[in-house]
């Protein structure tokens, strides 16, 4: 276990406004297979960064490194350095559970807990040591996920009774409730209808005030609508013939979509890929 007081000291002392997360020469392996190669990427504070790229280029793999979710995959290994608020996330002294409390995650498939709507939100807050007014926190979190009006009369009902779009917003509310600094979203809208998708995108705009957001998406319009910065990844066959993903280009979203420097980016964002 890490010493949690030194951890928070370090965070408080860190300079505001600088990259929250730095990715320095990161390569990620599953056993002997190299999934991601030599990525350098800085995530600025209170911005939305989109990861785009063809399937299998390692977007999810990289995203999962930021909250050490890859630890749960046997054989997964990270080389290089990822720092969060100047702390090396893969330092042996760092407790992964602590990391995940500060860097929350919303998954591709909505995954509410089999508990009441209220408990879905209260549970995360409680285990993270929230001592304040729980009713107030639940309401605030549901409001910030634009879900309050739809569920305020049925907080006791199971979270599983909601529609897919509502479930996904519940999962966002649950993540917001633990007050992380960064929220990772892996294709959060891929299971949603267009209306719910727009609501989640609006939500991301609002959340940007308080959180730094990294979102993986296959939807070009979505990336251009929500992201301040966009990172384009591609996959390429290496010397041994196995495909590895790498970062092609990372820039302001409008640059990526209107004036990309690389030809492959141009091809991908204009739909002429492959």
């Amino acid at each position: 276990m890490m010493n949690s007081s030194t951890y928070s000291d370090a965070i408080d002392n860190s300079a505001a406004g600088h990259p929250v997360i730095r990715t320095e020469n990161v390569s990620i392996f599953y056993g002997n297979f190299q999934a991601v190669r030599n990525v350098f990427l800085d995530i600025p504070k209170n911005k939305v960064v989109a990861f785009i790229g063809p399937s299998g280029c390692g977007k999810s793999t990289l995203l999962r490194c930021y909250n050490r979710l890859n630890d749960l995959i046997p054989g997964a290994r990270v080389e290089g350095k990822i720092t969060y608020q100047n702390i090396d996330l893969y330092d042996p002294k760092v407790d992964p559970v602590e990391v995940r409390r500060r860097i929350g995650m919303v998954f591709q498939r909505p995954n509410p807990f089999p508990k009441s709507i209220y408990e879905n939100i209260a549970f995360g807050a409680r285990i993270n040591g929230y001592k304040g007014d729980m009713d107030e926190l639940v309401e605030r979190s549901l409001r910030s996920a634009a879900l309050w009006d739809e569920v305020k009369d049925k907080l006791k009902e199971s979270g599983l009774s909601l529609s897919g779009g509502q479930q996904q917003r519940l999962c966002i509310a649950r993540t917001v409730a633990i007050e992380p600094e960064v929220i990772l979203m892996d294709e959060p809208c891929s299971a949603l209808d267009p209306i719910s998708t727009l609501r989640v995108e609006d939500l991301i705009h609002d959340l940007k005030q308080r959180f730094t957001i990294i979102i993986v998406t296959h939807n070009m319009q979505q990336a251009s609508r929500v992201a301040d910065y966009t990172a384009f990844f591609n996959a390429e066959a290496g010397e041994t013939g196995s495909r590895f993903g790498y970062l092609v280009e990372y820039d302001k979203t409008e640059h990526i979509f209107n004036a990309p420097k690389e030809k492959s980016t141009q091809d991908y964002v204009s739909g002429r890929f492959g």
């Binding site: 909250n67 979710l69 749960l72 559970v97 602590e98 995940r100 409390r101 500060r102 929350g104 995650m105 919303v106 998954f107 498939r109 995954n111 509410p112 807990f113 089999p114 508990k115 549970f123 995360g124 285990i127 993270n128 199971s158 599983l160 999962c171 649950r174 993540t175 633990i178």
Partner: protein, 302 residues
């Protein structure tokens, strides 16, 4: 012709191919014969259950009714005395099963939690799973021998406790298996969600995953109880038998199954009748517990 909600379609758009083609007669006959054969086999498979129930009802029911409620409230009579009941055996069965559950439920549930949630396929959990399989194949008389060795000899007396220990050995693998199944039924996404909000493994398992798997655990416990309620061999030399009420858990205790064993082979008509009535009670107990188990499983979340 077209209604407002439908696109204009030409009559030709609908396939009008003939469907009155004929299947070869032989194929039809073969199909019918095979269906009949299958139904016959089903009936044959249900025959033993049906005849057991029939025999129990014809032999046991009358005694239950004529002597109601004394079979439930009185003690077994001495030989050649009429009437009587087996309240001590009913209580004894409930008590030994309860002791068995008290021991096997916590161990079983925690073992399953270890193998599924914490061990996650490591050497130890594989070994434990192997042992569970072996344990479920252990003959029940061996479980009784075990309890005899560690409880009866140590306490110096036959007792409900010894019977409970013997039963717990038999209940343990059932509870471990069903709990494991329940835990595995919780989708991976939920586990990811738990990790995503910074829950430790322990917090996740005990506040979310185990509660969601509870219907399975309850099913396992009821199935184990149903199994234990009918066991005779492990009780023969652990709980033994008692003509009277056991005054404590440290005394020989009558149970329904041992009572059936003793009285069914006794040379007295009254005792034989009591054995039939007790057999009916045991089967009804097991039946109702199984139905309870079914309704519990149907409440599952995933």
């Amino acid at each position: 012709m077209s209604s407002p909600n439908q696109p204009d379609l030409n009559p030709g758009d609908f396939a009008s191919s003939e469907i009155n083609y004929s299947v070869a007669q032989g194929r039809k006959v073969f199909g019918n014969v095979m269906t009949g054969l299958v139904l016959f086999c089903v009936a044959l498979a249900l025959l033993p259950l049906g005849s057991i129930l029939f025999m129990l009802l014809t032999n046991g029911l009358s005694r239950l009714f004529t002597d109601f409620p004394s079979v439930f409230t009185e003690l077994p009579p001495p030989p050649l005395v009429d009437g009587g009941g087996f309240r001590n055996a009913i209580i004894g069965t409930l008590v030994t099963c309860f002791i068995g559950a008290l021991i096997s439920v916590p161990f079983g549930v925690l073992t399953a939690i270890y193998t599924v949630e914490f061990g996650q396929g490591n050497r130890l959990s594989q070994f434990v799973r192997f042992c569970t399989n072996v344990l479920s194949g252990v003959p029940s008389i061996i479980a009784g021998l075990f309890a005899y060795g560690i409880v009866v000899l140590a306490m110096g007396t036959f007792s409900a406790i010894a019977g409970g220990v013997a039963l717990s050995v038999l209940m343990l693998p059932i509870i471990i298996r069903t709990t494991e199944e329940g835990l595995k039924s919780i989708p991976r996404e939920v586990r990811q969600g738990l990790v995503g909000i910074g829950a430790t493994n322990f917090q996740g398992v005990f506040s979310v995953i185990l509660p969601a798997a509870l219907p399975f655990v309850a099913t396992g416990v009821t199935l184990a109880l149903a199994r234990a309620a009918g066991e005779t061999a492990p009780l023969l030399f652990t709980a033994l038998f008692n003509q009277f009420d056991a005054r404590s858990l440290r005394e020989p205790t009558a149970t329904l199954s041992v009572l059936i064993y003793n009285y069914a082979i006794a040379p007295y008509k009254n005792q034989n009748e009591l054995a039939w009535a007790a057999a009916l009670i045991v089967v009804l107990m097991i039946l109702s517990v199984s139905i309870l188990a079914r309704t519990l499983t149907s409440r599952k979340v995933y």
